[in-house]
C-alpha cells in the first residue's frame, strides 16, 4: 500500500525542555496507528506538529510526497487534508450542529451549501445524531459533542485523521459511543493516528501501536505482540501501570 505520511526526524523544544527528539514515523494509506505513552511525553505535541499547529525545530513532515512548510502562505490548503479532533471537542459555540459541520466545506472547499448540508445530514445519521442537527453545542452531552466533532473533521474528507485523546474528557458511559464511531471509521479504511489511554480500544482498532517516552519512539509493533510480548522494560512498566494486581 502507498505511503501517505512520512515524518522524518522531527524535534521540538520548549525552551530547555526537549519534547520531541528526532521522531520518525511512516503511515500507509488505510493504516491505523495508535500512539500511547505516559502523560507529558509529547503525544499531543507530536500530532500538532503534523498539521503545523506547532512548528518543528528540526526534521520534516511529508504528506503525499510533499514537504509541509509551516511558513507556507497556503498552509490552510494542506490542513484541509489533515483532519484533527481535540480532547475538548472545540465545536463553535455560536453555531448549531449543522452550521458547525458546513462551515469549512462551504468556506474552504467552496462546496455548495445545499450539498454540504446533505452530506452533513448523511454523516449525522450515521453517528446517530440526526435529531440534533439544529441544536447548539451547549445542548449536547460530551459524547454527542465529540461525535459531532468527528463528523466535522470528516466533512472535509481528509486523507488522514488525527485524534488526540478524544475520550479523555468524557464520562465513562459516553466513551463507548465515541469509540464505536472510530472503530467504524477504521473498518471503512480511514487512515488515522490515534492518541489514547484506552488500551483495550487501542488493541481493537490499531494496525500498529507506537510507544513514545521521553520524546522518542521506544517500541512499536502489531497490537498483539505489543501488548502481550513487550520487548522493552519501559513499555512493560508502562503497560503494568494500567493493571491492578
Amino acid at each position: 500500500m502507498d505511503e501517505i505520511l512520512n515524518i522524518r526526524g522531527i524535534s521540538k523544544k520548549y525552551e530547555d525542555l526537549v519534547v520531541l527528539d528526532h521522531l520518525d514515523l511512516r503511515v500507509r494509506s488505510g493504516e491505523v496507528v495508535v500512539i500511547v505513552g505516559p502523560s507529558g511525553c509529547g503525544k499531543s505535541t507530536f500530532l500538532r506538529c503534523i498539521n503545523a499547529l506547532e512548528k518543528v525545530d528540526d526534521g520534516e513532515v511529508i504528506l503525499d510526497g510533499k514537504v509541509i512548510d509551516p511558513q507556507d502562505k497556503h498552509l490552510s490548503k494542506v490542513r484541509e487534508k489533515i483532519g484533527m479532533v481535540f480532547q475538548s471537542y472545540e465545536l463553535f459555540p455560536h453555531k448549531t450542529v449543522l452550521q458547525n459541520l458546513v462551515l469549512a466545506p462551504v468556506r474552504v472547499k467552496k462546496m455548495n451549501r445545499k450539498e454540504a448540508e446533505k452530506e452533513a445530514l448523511r454523516l449525522l445519521e450515521r453517528v446517530g445524531l440526526l435529531s440534533k442537527k439544529n441544536n447548539y453545542p451547549r445542548q449536547l452531552s460530551g459524547g454527542q459533542k465529540q461525535r459531532v466533532a468527528i463528523v466535522r473533521a470528516l466533512m472535509m474528507n481528509p486523507e488522514i485523521l488525527l485524534l488526540d485523546e478524544i475520550t479523555a474528557a468524557l464520562d465513562p458511559e459516553m466513551v463507548r459511543e465515541v469509540l464505536e464511531v472510530v472503530l467504524d471509521l477504521a473498518k471503512e479504511g480511514r487512515t488515522m493516528i490515534i492518541v489514547t489511554h484506552e488500551l483495550p480500544f487501542a488493541k481493537a482498532v490499531a494496525d500498529r501501536v507506537v510507544f513514545i517516552d521521553g520524546g522518542r519512539i521506544i517500541e512499536e509493533g502489531e497490537p498483539k505482540d505489543f501488548f502481550e510480548h513487550p520487548k522493552t522494560e519501559r513499555l512493560r512498566k508502562f503497560l503494568h501501570s494500567f493493571t491492578y494486581e
Binding site: E90, F92, L103, A104
Partner: protein, 222 residues
C-alpha cells in the same frame, strides 16, 4: 404639581432639546469608545509588559476617578493651565470617551481572553485561514460576549451625562432646573412634576436599550 408647566411656552420642547444634547454627547462618546476600546483591548493581551502595564494603569485611574473630577479637570483645568479653549461639549466628549475607552477595552480584553486558544486551532485545523478564522469563528463569539455588556455601558453613559450641567452645558436636567427657577413665584411646587418628567425621559431612553441587552443575552447565552 408642575406638570402644567410642560405645556407652558415651549417648555416640553426645551426638555427634549436638553435630552438631545445629552444623547448626542453620549452617543458620540460611545462610538469613539467602541473604536478605541477595541484597539486598546486587543493590545491588553499583548505579551509586552510595558504596554500591558500602561493600559492597566490607565484603566485603574479611570475607574477610581469620579467622572465629575475628570470633567472639571478637562474643562476648567485645560483652559487655565494649557491656555487652550475647548468648549464644554468637547470637554465632555473627551472625558466620556476617556472613561468609555477604558471600560470598553477591558470588555474586549475579557472577551478575547475568554476564547480558548483551541478555538483558533480547531478552526485552522479545518483549513480556515487566519482571516476566515477571525471572521467566522472568533469575531462572532466576541461580539456575542461583548454586546450586552457594552450596551450596559451605553446606558451608564447616558445616565452620567447629567453631570455635564456642572460645566455649563444645558442638558435635560439643567433645562428642568431652569423651568423650575423661572416659575418659582407662580408654581412653587413645580419641582416634583418637572423632575419626574426628566426621570421619565431618561427611563424612556434607557429602558429599551437595557431590554435589548437582556434580549441579546438570552438569545446568545452560551
Amino acid at each position: 404639581m408642575g406638570f402644567e408647566l410642560l405645556l407652558k411656552g415651549n417648555n416640553l420642547g426645551r426638555l427634549f432639546g436638553g435630552l438631545a444634547v445629552a444623547l448626542k454627547i453620549s452617543l458620540l462618546s460611545v462610538c469613539i469608545s467602541l473604536i478605541l476600546g477595541t484597539v486598546l483591548g486587543s493590545l491588553m493581551n499583548d505579551r509586552h509588559p510595558l504596554i500591558k502595564g500602561v493600559l492597566r494603569g490607565y484603566l485603574e485611574i479611570v475607574r477610581l476617578m469620579p467622572q465629575l473630577v475628570l470633567l472639571f479637570l478637562a474643562y476648567f483645568g485645560t483652559t487655565r493651565v494649557l491656555g487652550i479653549n475647548i468648549s464644554a461639549e468637547t470637554a465632555s466628549v473627551f472625558v466620556f470617551s476617556f472613561w468609555g475607552t477604558a471600560e470598553m477595552s477591558d470588555l474586549v480584553r475579557g472577551a478575547l481572553s475568554g476564547i480558548p486558544a483551541a478555538q483558533y486551532e480547531s478552526s485552522m485545523a479545518l483549513g480556515l485561514n487566519d482571516v476566515q478564522t477571525l471572521v467566522f469563528v472568533i469575531l462572532p463569539q466576541i461580539i456575542r460576549r461583548m454586546l450586552p455588556l457594552s450596551i450596559n455601558l451605553i446606558t451608564r453613559m447616558i445616565k452620567t451625562t447629567s453631570l455635564i450641567m456642572m460645566i455649563g452645558i444645558v442638558e435635560v436636567l439643567k433645562v428642568g432646573q431652569q423651568i423650575i427657577e423661572a416659575n418659582r413665584k407662580i408654581d412653587p411646587n413645580a419641582a416634583f412634576g418637572i423632575y419626574f418628567t426628566v426621570f421619565v425621559l431618561y427611563f424612556a431612553v434607557c429602558w429599551p436599550i437595557s431590554k435589548l441587552s437582556k434580549y441579546l443575552e438570552k438569545k446568545w447565552e452560551a
